[in-house]
């Protein structure tokens, strides 16, 4: 039922979802979604509130496991490996599929400890020097190093909202993930901080598969190369961002993009 744009070139899928449905108790939040998410691209999920885009995003690194009533059906593969089999270690999965949340949520620890958290629990660094190097590299990649290098021992919560969000991105890339999921990462930020995050997403694109959920169609147009339009638990249309925005095939997509609803 998903309309896939004919222009969408076939690439190797980093994440392959087939007939994925997500239930909260008896309520079906996602209805048989199938989608391929490529590496080295930014894929945007757009759609009106409550359409299930965040729910689907959280299914991709099994964060829905933390909600007792949530249940997932269908197949989600990461590099061809089903992530919902009992053999899949959630800890390993989440190390490979990082996540950035809607509201910046740095731990109430120092900036250094926030970044070192992931490498520590996954044993990525041997000794202090290696850990220092990971912290510096992550902060540099997140474009935060110059702002915080002199106060790594300050609390992460003392930073501004935009800096906190970049800290969270740095925290996510510190464990060297393959996929980064971003759940409306700019909705709590002002326009300047938003611009910085968008710039950062663009820079990170080459190394990861990035999936971003956003309410802002301008943001989707600015940062993404692939766009999926979600509506009522379905992916209505999926294609190159330029095609979706300039030449939507579905009436509902057109209505949403032109601001008819949502």
């Amino acid at each position: 039922m998903t309309v896939v744009h004919p222009n969408l070139e076939v690439t190797d899928a980093k994440i392959r979802a087939r007939d994925v449905s997500v239930f909260y108790g008896a309520k079906k939040a996602i209805d048989a979604v199938s989608i391929d998410i490529p590496s080295k691209y930014v894929t945007a999920f757009i759609g009106p509130s409550g359409c299930g885009k965040s729910t689907f995003l959280r299914a991709l690194n099994r964060m829905n496991d933390t909600i007792p009533s949530a249940r997932v059906e269908g197949i989600i593969e990461l590099d061809g490996e089903d992530i919902y089999t009992s053999g899949m270690d959630v800890v390993q999965l989440r190390a490979r599929v990082g996540m950035v949340f809607q509201k910046p949520n740095p731990f109430p620890k120092t900036i250094y400890e926030n970044i070192a958290y992931g490498p520590r629990i996954h044993g990525l660094a041997e000794g202090k020097t290696e850990l220092d190097a990971i912290v510096e590299r992550s902060l540099r990649r997140a474009g935060l190093w110059n702002e915080v290098k002199d106060r790594l021992t300050d609390s992460g919560t003392a930073l501004s909202g935009g800096q906190q969000q970049r800290l969270c991105i740095a925290r996510a890339i510190a464990v060297d993930p393959e996929v980064i999921l971003m759940d409306e990462p700019c909705s709590a930020l002002d326009p300047i901080a938003t611009a910085k995050i968008e710039e950062l997403i663009d820079e990170l694109r080459g190394n990861y598969a990035i999936v971003i959920v956003t309410h802002s169609m301008q943001q989707a147009a600015r940062v993404s190369q692939r766009t999926a339009f979600f509506h009522l638990g379905n992916v209505v249309e999926y294609g190159r961002t330029s095609d979706i925005f300039t030449n939507p095939l579905e009436e509902r997509t057109k209505d949403y993009i032109t601001g008819r609803y949502g």
Binding site: M63, T66, V90, A95, P106, P108, R171
Partner: protein, 461 residues
């Protein structure tokens, strides 16, 4: 008798005032076309009623202390009282007899003078009762009329009533604060008397505690008033043994309840745990004395430790620790639950396991709340009396062996105050000095706990 009568009268008058005020407000609404009352009619009623009750309660408080004196004075002015002895003690005895007969508590008098005074007494009592009732009525009508006449459609009765409510609430909170101050003042006063007899240095740093209540107050031996064994016993039982039990168990149960327990389990387990806090300490006391202490002694003997006392510090400490578990766990529970879900999600999304998340994120973030709970628990434990009285004996031992009998500050306060000693003897007064020290320590602990909690509140803003 006359007091309850007056009180009843007050309530009746207030009710009348309430009804009158309300009726008047309703009448404003009926008569005036399009009149908007500034307050609901009930508030007008309350305004009048409170104006009646307030002055009357003040009058009653004054009158109940004043009236007996006035009665007695008018009896003494009676010619029949002219022959009474001038000596206070005798005179009061005779007057008391007369009063007892006059009020119907006794039927006959044993003293001849008293019989003559019964009649004047009866007259005076009924006279003053009448005066009391009349004054009550006058005050009620005066105050009520004053309030009643102030009622107008635009009268802001609601804000006035709010202000009165505020005053009542303020008074209520002042009672607690003033009581604390009163306790402190009386403690300080008696403690100073004690330190006048025994030097504070001997008391605070001496290592032998065996007060001698039977010696003459002036010849008390200061070297027998060293409170160190008591402080040690208190800390050892309340702050060390009890906390070794309570902190891990309380913390772990809080973690289980907030992080692992299914909601249906939690619904049952949490109240069940809190029942522990509601068990009377006496019950814990005999549980400690009759069940735990003998078991510990037997266990010690079985593994070859001789000389284990049947009233051991260990027994008291263990049971106290169990008693304290709900304090630690409910504070820890609250502060762990108060850590935002976003922190937990953030950690889980990094690939941390549940227990790593708890250990590395939740507990550090909740630490101030947990510490505050532990502080409160410690101050509760060192102030605890019953368990130690029953399970840990009154022998003041300065020892690190938990199997020995020990005593605490609170137990000695009980022992000193319930003994035979007189109130000018340092042995008795030492109870106040001990109480003062205990008060200061628990106050300091509570203060620290409150400061920590305050910091905790700012953590996520």
């Amino acid at each position: 008798m006359s007091f309850s009568l007056l009180l009843l009268l007050t309530i009746g008058l207030a009710l009348a005032g309430w009804l009158a005020g309300r009726a008047r407000a309703w009448s404003f609404r009926k008569t005036g076309e399009g009149v908007r009352l500034a307050a609901l009619p009930n508030y007008h009623g309350w305004y009048v009623a409170l104006w009646i009750v307030g002055p009357l309660l003040a009058f009653l408080a004054l009158w109940t202390t004043l009236a007996p004196n006035l009665v007695q004075q008018s009896v003494l002015a009676d010619p029949a009282a002219a022959g009474l002895p001038a000596f206070d003690f005798q005179r009061n005895a005779i007057l008391a007899q007369a009063r007892a007969v006059a009020t119907g508590l006794a039927t006959t008098t044993t003293h001849p003078d008293a019989a003559a005074l019964v009649e004047p007494y009866r007259d005076a009592i009924s006279r003053y009762r009448l005066i009391g009732i009349l004054a009550t009525l006058a005050i009620a009508i005066g105050a009520g009329a004053f309030a009643f006449l102030r009622l107008k459609p635009q009268f802001a009765a609601r804000t006035k009533v709010e202000r009165i409510v505020l005053a009542v609430l303020l008074t209520a909170s002042l009672v607690a604060i003033l009581t604390t101050l009163g306790i402190l003042v009386s403690l300080v006063f008696e403690t100073i008397r004690f330190f006048g007899m025994i030097s504070p240095l001997d008391f605070l740093f001496g290592t032998t505690w065996s007060p001698d209540p039977m010696t003459a107050p002036t010849s008390a031996d200061p070297t027998r008033y060293g409170a160190i064994p008591l402080f040690w016993g208190t800390i050892f039982i309340g702050a060390i043994i009890a906390m070794v039990v309570a902190i891990p168990l309380g913390l772990m149960s809080a973690i289980y309840l907030t992080q692992y327990a299914r909601p249906s389990w939690r619904k049952w387990l949490k109240p069940a745990l809190e029942i522990l806090a509601g068990v009377p300490t006496v019950v814990y006391g005999y549980f400690a004395a009759l069940t735990v202490a003998p078991a510990i002694r037997d266990a010690a003997l079985a593994i070859g430790i001789s000389g284990a006392s049947s009233e051991s510090a260990l027994a008291a400490g263990l049971v106290m620790g169990v008693m304290i578990i709900p304090f630690v766990s409910s504070m820890a529970d609250d502060s762990i639950a108060a850590v935002p879900q976003a922190m937990r999600d953030g950690s889980l999304a990094m690939g941390a396991t549940k227990s790593e998340t708890i250990r590395r994120v939740l507990i550090p973030a909740a630490l101030p709340g947990i510490v505050a709970g532990v502080m409160l628990a410690v101050s509760r434990a060192i102030g605890e009396t019953m368990i130690v009285v029953m399970a840990a004996s009154t022998a003041a031992n300065l020892s690190a062996n938990p199997l020995e009998s020990m005593t605490t500050v609170t137990v000695q306060i009980v022992a000193m105050l319930t003994g035979e000693g007189s109130f000018d003897h340092p042995a008795t007064l030492s109870a106040f000095a001990l109480g003062f020290v205990l008060f200061m320590v628990t106050l300091a602990l509570n203060f620290i706990a409150l400061r920590v909690v305050k910091r905790f509140r700012e953590a996520y803003e």
